[in-house]
Symmetry: C3
Subunit: 328 residues, 3 copies
């Protein structure tokens, strides 16, 4: 991990980790999909399941990323990726992330054609059954989020601190605009999912820092669905706004809108959206209280309540898992 | 702003800022030029007006870059770009740059064809008149600089400190050689203007540091004209030499020569040239006196006098503007 | 040199230096090969002779890389590259590297065709004779190493510290996996030799740091032969294992295996292999003793003895050179 991968406090950006995870997933799933007799293809990221950042990584540490294919349907591949940070001077190691990604293989000759995936061998019948269950669940959720596509939000590069009160939504709302270059893209000429996630985390981090004015780090990312491809030469606008704060965390909603402004006359479209959760840390790395978000409009109040719902649901799920773990 | 964007003292390189400005300009003008019914095109940088660096930016700050189209002629677009630095922890903001750029849209199918620009709407008649005046002025100046193309200078990677006296022109003269890769280029396969400017600032900074042996920062850049495109796969030689020093500033002339060494037998050509002004700063960020440049040849004395002329002219212009501002 | 070019102690990675050397070599040899009447071509790296890292380079220093063509055969070019580091604030300069590289020009239209090289002029007859001798020697060695292609080693991302004893080969053995993107490649769509060497040095550095748990730097690299091209879109696995330790140095063998997993059904192949020598430094930059490598299998013992042979041979050669230098 290099200086440019981290914030001023030396903590590696969540986005850098997400980009590495996605690169590992893309490699293993593309390799698998080309291992049969089918036509040449490149795996495109379709979905990332909810990911927790279990412990921070620092400059100078080595990141160990390992990936494994855990399920294949006819047209998609599930990949499990684990990330460990290793201090090679002390030898200390920590698990930093466990992520599940879904890929779809697109033909190299015709990017609109989805290629068939060679099936994997399962050691137990249950592995296949559990994988199929996960496959059906994520398929359902992808359909749902395609409909609830998120309202249009105006890009705000530079929040208006003169007219907005601190800790309001408008005060920290932020945007980045990025021109998609060749090194952002796969062999098919579409943006790597990991590049998109890195930019999303960057915006979310700016929103969180503007709200808290402290050192902030990514705590988790909700499931992200990649509905639309983004082509080389597009301009993408990544916008983030705070939706909810608990005592020690804040939730930021991030939208990616693509503008394919050359070559083909096409409307701007919503390509991705997701919720990032951040925490605020003291100089010693201890969690700090987060200033409460001031909601002004009815819309903001509604989003705050929805965020609270997600927060309580995640908390309940985690407690259930801990109890389950304690029983075993 | 990341560690790699800045010098050892933590000040962001002027070239990094110029690259961001140009990226914003390229996005807004390409988007505008594709908004009509015309053929798909990419905006290519033709000229950047004189730019001052009003205050330095630091690692960890967020750069806010905003761009607006202020004039359109039949075949060119004028873009006004403003840059602000924001310390997101304290909330402090400073204007760091205001720049004016001219773009020309080139057809995506035939890069030698200039496409027509859709006209913009002006809120006042005066806006259009003033824009037309700026357009005519820059057109004239571009014609002039095309003729005075600058003498050939030999690339000097490593100035000969054994045989040259400190503070002579030869002592600090420097060059960089860069192979143009895919990530340096636009969709048309030509180098981004911002990439060229970043490399020019890098050379100018090396010349200034060799002369002063202190922490140096970019204070301003004179108008830059981009006469010739530079193709992917070219080798470019960026050479800089000091032309003039005042008590607290130094002027460095920078040349970009392109060598299209593969694919087409073509002579090396002068692609861009410009004057950069640098100042020397103490560890506390206070301006330091600059050692006077020792001119040896008649040529060097002539260039020194020309530099002095530009220096006095800029100084007079600035004083006139301040008086005008004081009257309002 | 920027923060990302260096390790935590501020020493520039050997791989960064190798990449700059190769870029200079590629530029000068491509330019030369296109200077005649022949068809357009791009020079591809075929071999780098043994290179010593004479003194470390630091963040903030300027690297001066100069290259010269010293011999041409019908189908290859020998380039001599010198690297100096310059502290532009103090003016201090040090020679950091002297390297010899061999390039082969490949046609831009048909990458499998080697183009004829225009001959250079020699000032003395001896220069040509000595060049021809070096040419014949390296040709012979390239043939030899093509046969001894190195055994298959399994990529180990994350050595198993629970089951392996410290200072064994298995304890520090490491791998990197990299997806070859557009900015890694030449105009022909093949990986730059310099990019490959940078990744090789990265792996070797991780192996060395895992073994020593101290600040480590590259001391030298044995001759590297590039037998096989690596195409854009390939996945490369770079694996390193320690082969030998002396009192103050360690030798690491590095392998690059390419997996052209899309587009063409082809087997994984061994593209490059080389030996890197590292030393361990204290915080004050003084050489530290290196813990002895514990060899377990017969294979490991055999490789240790071979490494010892290379070590003693290099040592004898260096002493002979010093005596020769003392006599002159």
């Amino acid at each position: 991990m290099r200086p440019d991968d981290a914030n001023i406090a030396g903590n590696v950006h969540g986005g850098t980790v997400l980009k590495m995870i996605e690169e590992a997933g893309a490699i293993i799933s593309t390799r698998h999909c080309n291992s049969g007799q089918g036509e040449p293809c490149v795996a495109a990221l379709a979905r990332v399941e909810r990911t927790d950042f279990l412990s921070p990584m620092c400059i100078g540490e080595v990141a160990n990323v390992s990936a494994e294919i855990t399920y294949t349907s006819k047209h998609s591949v599930e990949v499990q990726v684990n990330v460990m940070s290793e201090n090679i001077l002390t030898g200390a190691k920590k698990v930093t992330n466990k992520a599940t990604l879904w890929y779809v293989p697109l033909s190299l000759k015709n990017v609109n054609k989805v290629v068939e995936v060679p099936p994997i061998q399962y050691t137990h019948k249950e592995q296949e059954d559990e994988g199929r269950k996960r496959y059906e669940e994520q398929k359902l959720e992808r359909l749902e989020t395609k409909q609830r596509n998120g309202d249009v939000i105006l890009p705000v590069i530079n929040p208006d601190r003169q007219t907005k009160e601190p800790h309001t939504v408008g005060y920290s709302q932020s945007s980045l605009i990025h021109l998609v270059g060749p090194s952002d893209c796969t062999l098919l000429g579409f943006v790597h999912g990991g590049v998109t996630m890195k930019l999303m985390d960057e915006v979310a981090g700016i929103v969180a820092a503007r709200h808290c004015k402290t050192n902030i780090v990514t705590a988790s990312v909700d499931a992200i669905n990649f509905h639309e491809k983004i082509k080389k030469g597009s301009v993408i606008t990544i916008s983030g706004r705070m939706t909810f704060t608990s005592n020690k965390s804040m939730e930021i909603e991030v939208f990616v809108d693509a503008d394919p402004f050359v070559d083909e006359p096409q409307e701007r479209y919503r390509a991705v959206s997701a919720f990032f959760t951040y925490v605020s840390l003291s100089k010693e790395g201890k969690p700090l209280p987060v200033p409460q978000l001031l909601t002004e409009s009815e819309e903001e109040k509604r989003r705050f309540e929805e965020g609270k719902g997600r927060y309580l649901q995640t908390k309940a799920k985690r407690q259930a898992q801990m109890q389950q773990a304690a029983q075993h």
